[in-house]
């Protein structure tokens, strides 16, 4: 079953030297995303299935096979969703996401 990911509302985020810094304002956990994770983060629009992000962004941009990339992406999404940084659903998210694209 495919999954849709969206950025949570209780987050702070900023790009610093090509890496995305993300912090949960709820539990103050802090993450520095590498290039691959940053791409997934930026593509987390709530409408694009995670598998599509992996296939169309990760595999193409980073020359990695889809199965391996999918495993990594799933782990990353599970970890961030535990802190409310990413929201995961089996269905596309609608316009509850008001936050602007992080800079």
């Amino acid at each position: 079953m495919d999954r849709y990911i969206a950025r949570g509302s209780g987050i702070a985020a900023r790009m610093l030297g090509g890496e995305m810094m993300v912090m949960s304002t709820t539990d103050s956990t802090f993450f520095s995303l590498n290039e691959v994770a940053t791409v997934i983060w930026q593509a987390a629009d709530g409408r694009t299935p995670l598998s599509e992000i992996v296939a169309n962004k990760i595999c193409l941009e980073f020359d990695v096979d889809q199965e391996r990339a999918q495993v990594g992406a799933d782990r990353f999404v599970d970890e961030l969703s535990r802190h409310g940084i990413l929201l995961v659903s089996e269905h596309p998210w609608i316009s509850s996401l008001q936050m602007r694209e992080s800079r």
């Binding site: 987050i11 900023r14 103050s28 602007r100």
Partner: protein
């Protein structure tokens, strides 16, 4: 190295202002005896100006945004400002006295995703706290605010500024913080007013009190470690930066003035006349602050405490020389370790448990008080 310190290091290398402290107003509903601000409104930035500034901050890479004052809730547009800041994904911390926070305000802050609220509490005793704030009933209202914020699940910390009037109340405030389930931080620093007036420094606690605080395991943890004599400074210390002021952090006043830090009132530009990033990158004043390393400090570089001192370049600046010692921090180092600083030795102030030297003037008047203190030591 923690992730946060890695981030700081990266920001330093890239010249990114990771943290900004923005005072939204100097107006306040309290009149704290030790406050360094002029509470009149001399033309605060408007909502539109602040909204534009927030966008500039985000573009510059600012991540941590502290909104403070004055009392932030004195601004009718406060929630609009916080909302704009959160839409730009800043990590927002609010500093407030809490007096104007009720259930609705606490819920609003929670909804907007404010990361932390820092609240000033001076004493667990209403008669002491209210005498400092000069607002009857203020402790009661502040404690209610903390409960409202906690009920919303917000992270709250109590900031306990220590001065003569509340010199023995730290443990009481700490117990109050525990009871409320919030963090506690202690700060014995009283700074001159921003206009240079040093009269409020008379509220600083005595050296004996400072020594007692630094040797209280409830307040500092491992006393042996906290009060240990400083190790000999290595080369990395001498090449080190005094603090983050002007390097990865800065301060903006309600009138748009940019300073290296809230405690470092060296004007570096004004965002009403120049873009923030232009000031951050090109201000000669900021660049001069950035150029200073520990080895460039004539007195402090010869001091045994150079690697461990809390020397504040802003306080040194207010004493007349940003490359000079900060007397208040010399005294902290002394009362913590028992070892006089190079500055104290140069001024013939041997280690003593005598009264803390009260700085009476920013520059020349200080020498008079030093003579008086030296006389007291030899009596």
């Amino acid at each position: 190295m923690t992730l946060l310190s890695e981030m700081n290091q990266r920001a330093l290398e890239l010249g990114v202002p990771l943290s900004v402290h923005l005072d939204l107003t100097y107006r306040c509903n309290e009149r704290c005896v030790h406050c360094y601000l002029d509470h009149d409104d001399h033309g605060e930035m408007t909502t539109v100006e602040i909204a534009d500034l927030l966008v500039q901050f985000a573009d510059a890479g600012v991540f941590f945004l502290s909104l403070s004052g004055g009392e932030v809730f004195m601004r009718r547009d406060f929630f609009e400002i916080v909302e704009r800041a959160r839409r730009l994904l800043f990590n927002v911390k609010i500093k407030t006295n809490g007096v104007m926070i009720h259930e609705a305000e606490a819920a609003g802050l929670r909804q907007l995703g404010v990361e932390q609220v820092q609240i000033s509490v001076y004493s667990h005793r209403p008669e002491i706290h209210d005498a400092i704030t000069k607002l009857p009933g203020s402790l009661n209202r502040t404690i209610k605010a903390i409960r409202f914020l906690k009920a919303q699940g917000l992270k709250v910390s109590i900031s306990n500024v220590v001065m003569n009037a509340n010199a023995t109340d730290q443990r009481g405030v700490m117990m109050l913080a525990r009871e409320l389930g919030v963090e506690y931080t202690l700060d014995p620093t009283i700074t001159p007013k921003l206009d240079g007036d040093t009269s409020i420094l008379s509220h600083r606690i005595t050296g004996d009190e400072l020594k007692r605080i630094f040797h209280d395991p409830e307040l500092v943890g491992d006393v042996g470690e906290f009060c240990a004599a400083p190790p000999p400074p290595g080369r990395d210390v001498m090449e080190g930066l005094p603090c983050s002021a002007g390097h990865t952090a800065c301060y903006i006043s309600p009138y748009g003035d940019v300073f290296p830090c809230v405690q470092f009132p060296r004007p570096c530009g004004n965002v009403r006349r120049q873009k923030f990033l232009d000031i951050w990158r090109h201000s000669p004043q900021l660049n001069e602050v950035r150029s200073i390393r520990a080895k460039d400090l004539p007195t402090c570089s010869t001091c045994a405490h150079v690697g461990t001192c809390t020397r504040c370049p802003g306080l040194a600046y207010m004493e007349g020389d940003m490359r000079g010692p900060s007397t208040a921090d010399c005294e902290k180092s002394f009362y913590r370790t028992g070892m006089p600083s190079a500055n104290m030795l140069q001024r013939k102030l041997p280690g003593s448990v005598g009264p803390l030297i009260q700085i009476q003037g920013v520059t020349c008047v200080r020498s008079a008080s030093v003579v008086a203190a030296a006389n007291a030591l030899t009596d």
